[in-house]
């Protein structure tokens, strides 16, 4: 490299370093190796006849079914499921942020609410399904309420823990500058608890997908859960697997979206990145 190009080079490097990492996580070829290998083996095993086609369809048949679904009905189901997850997750997470902040701030609120929440949390959320169906019918409401219930607890728990882990010295800074309780929450406690909050949000999002399927399996006429149960009733394992794959893609995409938001919001953190660099 000619010596005169060095300053430009180092300048570019410096600029690159300063930018926070906002890129979508890129998958290397290594990530694709195992799934592709599994597909190839499965295709072979089914084509040779070691597995019956009516129980385990070949990956190529699943791909074909997926393609056919994508020409029509699939988007209706995807849209219905996405809307339910978005509504349930938002409601559950928003309530958890409100109540979690309150309980994190106040020992009195904790004394009143925490034991009840612990008890409610111990109930497997699917146990609510019959009750929700009885109370709210088989419309959209019970599904959204169930997803909200599932999303609530991970966010609530991690936020309370996050607020309680905030460095006392930062809270003291708030006192020194006469911050009102609201300003203390907004300017110190929430930003400091943000790493925990994001952990909770990501856990809540994956639970939301789980509860969505539970809700749609039981009573629905649209949605990916409905597609699953439809596939079972019509003995079409290819439809079931296609629905599972779509759920996996949607779950992964929504988590990646949250991860990008997390990286953006937490660019200030000075933490170990897992690659031998700090």
């Amino acid at each position: 490299m000619p010596p005169q190009s060095l300053p430009t080079q180092s300048l570019r490097l410096a600029r690159q370093r300063r930018q926070p990492t906002l890129r979508w996580p890129r998958l290397s070829w290594r990530a694709w190796l195992l799934p592709l290998l599994l597909c190839a083996v499965l295709e072979l095993v089914v084509r040779v006849g070691w597995l019956p086609e009516h129980q385990m369809p070949a990956p190529s048949s699943v791909a074909l079914t997926l393609w056919q679904l994508a020409q029509g009905a699939l988007w209706k189901h995807v849209a219905a499921s996405l809307a339910r997850v978005a509504a349930g997750f938002s409601i559950g997470a928003a309530l958890a942020i409100l109540i979690g902040t309150w309980v994190g701030l106040s020992q009195r609120a904790e004394a009143y609410l925490e034991p009840t929440f612990q008890a409610l949390r111990a109930i497997p959320s699917l146990a609510w399904v019959p009750l929700l169906l009885l109370w709210l019918g088989i419309d959209e409401t019970p599904k959204i309420v169930l997803i909200a219930l599932g999303a609530f607890f991970p966010v609530y728990l991690s936020l309370v823990a996050g607020v309680r882990n905030v460095d006392r010295k930062w809270v003291e800074l708030g006192r020194l500058y006469h911050l009102s309780p609201f300003a203390l929450v907004r300017r110190i406690l929430l930003p400091a608890a943000l790493p925990s909050l994001f952990t909770g949000l990501r856990g809540a999002l994956s639970l939301s997908w789980m509860f969505l399927v539970a809700a749609e399996l039981i009573a629905a006429t649209r949605g990916l859960g409905y597609l699953l149960s439809d596939g079972r009733e019509t003995s079409r394992p290819d439809i079931v697997i296609a629905a599972i794959l779509v759920l996996a893609v949607l779950g992964k995409l929504s988590d990646s979206l949250l991860k990008v938001l997390e990286q953006r919001a937490l660019a200030w953190r000075d933490t170990f990145l897992g690659n031998g660099e700090s």
């Binding site: 010295k169 800074l173 006469h178 110190i188 400091a192 200030w268 000075d270």
Partner: protein, 244 residues
């Protein structure tokens, strides 16, 4: 002239300590670890109200958590042992923390220049060295144009060279802005170099052992014989009272 800050017969982990801070005066609380000097400073800052005795602040000063003199933390600035910068805010946002969104950018620029951090306002705390972070903390302490600056061992976590530079910076800023300083330290050199009076704390339970006036003009030369003599006297006192 009446004192800006007066602590009378303060008892907590120590027995009956009194001190006052006059306008423009620099007073050091010198003593070994655990003698309660940081606690005294926290009491003066209004961060600790569980103590016996009385704390009087000049009403003109209007500071402390019970004061509602408005933005900027009133007439007092505090710099802690560690920079205590909020990691999610830039250096400039940390300096103007008292006013949040309404922070005075011109004032922040001015302070950045004063503490030698010009052009570093947009950096995050994780991008600063220990000395730079402490400079930012000093700038934050000065943001509200305080009449009193409370310093809690502010240079103990930085290296010796940075410490000398920061001590000179504090001396220069105190002269420039006519600020009174209450400095808590366990560094004899630092105490005598910066102060008009040095209060020696020690013993069990801890109490005020002796007061050393430092009648030397400013700016001072840290190699001055008078300073060495005063340090010697303080060491003798510390030995005689079995503090060290």
């Amino acid at each position: 002239m009446s004192a800006l800050l007066e602590l009378r017969d303060i008892r907590k982990s120590f027995s009956g300590v009194s001190l006052s801070l006059a306008p423009g005066e620099v007073v050091s609380l010198l003593g070994p670890s655990g003698c309660g000097k940081s606690t005294l400073l926290r009491i003066a800052a209004g961060l600790d109200d569980e103590f016996a005795g009385s704390l009087e602040r000049n009403p003109l000063l209007g500071f402390g958590p019970d004061s509602d003199t408005g933005r900027g933390g009133g007439g007092v600035g505090v710099v802690f042992q560690e920079p205590r910068l909020l990691p999610w805010l830039t250096v400039a946002q940390n300096i103007g923390f008292a006013d949040g969104w309404l922070a005075d950018d011109t004032r922040i620029e001015h302070l950045l220049r004063d503490v030698g951090l010009e052009g570093k306002g947009e950096l995050l705390p994780k991008q600063l060295s220990g000395g730079m972070a402490q400079r930012a903390a000093i700038a934050r302490g000065l943001y509200g144009r305080p009449q009193v600056l409370l310093l809690d061992e502010p240079f103990s976590a930085v290296d010796a060279f940075t410490r000398i530079r920061l001590q000179d910076l504090i001396q220069q800023l105190a002269l420039e802005y006519d600020i009174s300083i209450l400095l808590v330290t366990h560094d004899l050199d630092e105490a005598f170099y910066l102060s008009d009076r040095v209060l020696l704390l020690g013993g069990t339970p801890s109490r005020l052992r002796r007061e050393f006036p430092v009648p030397l003009p400013r700016p001072r030369d840290r190699r001055a014989v008078e300073l060495a003599f005063l340090r010697g006297e303080a060491l003798t006192e510390l030995h005689q009272s079995h503090v060290i």
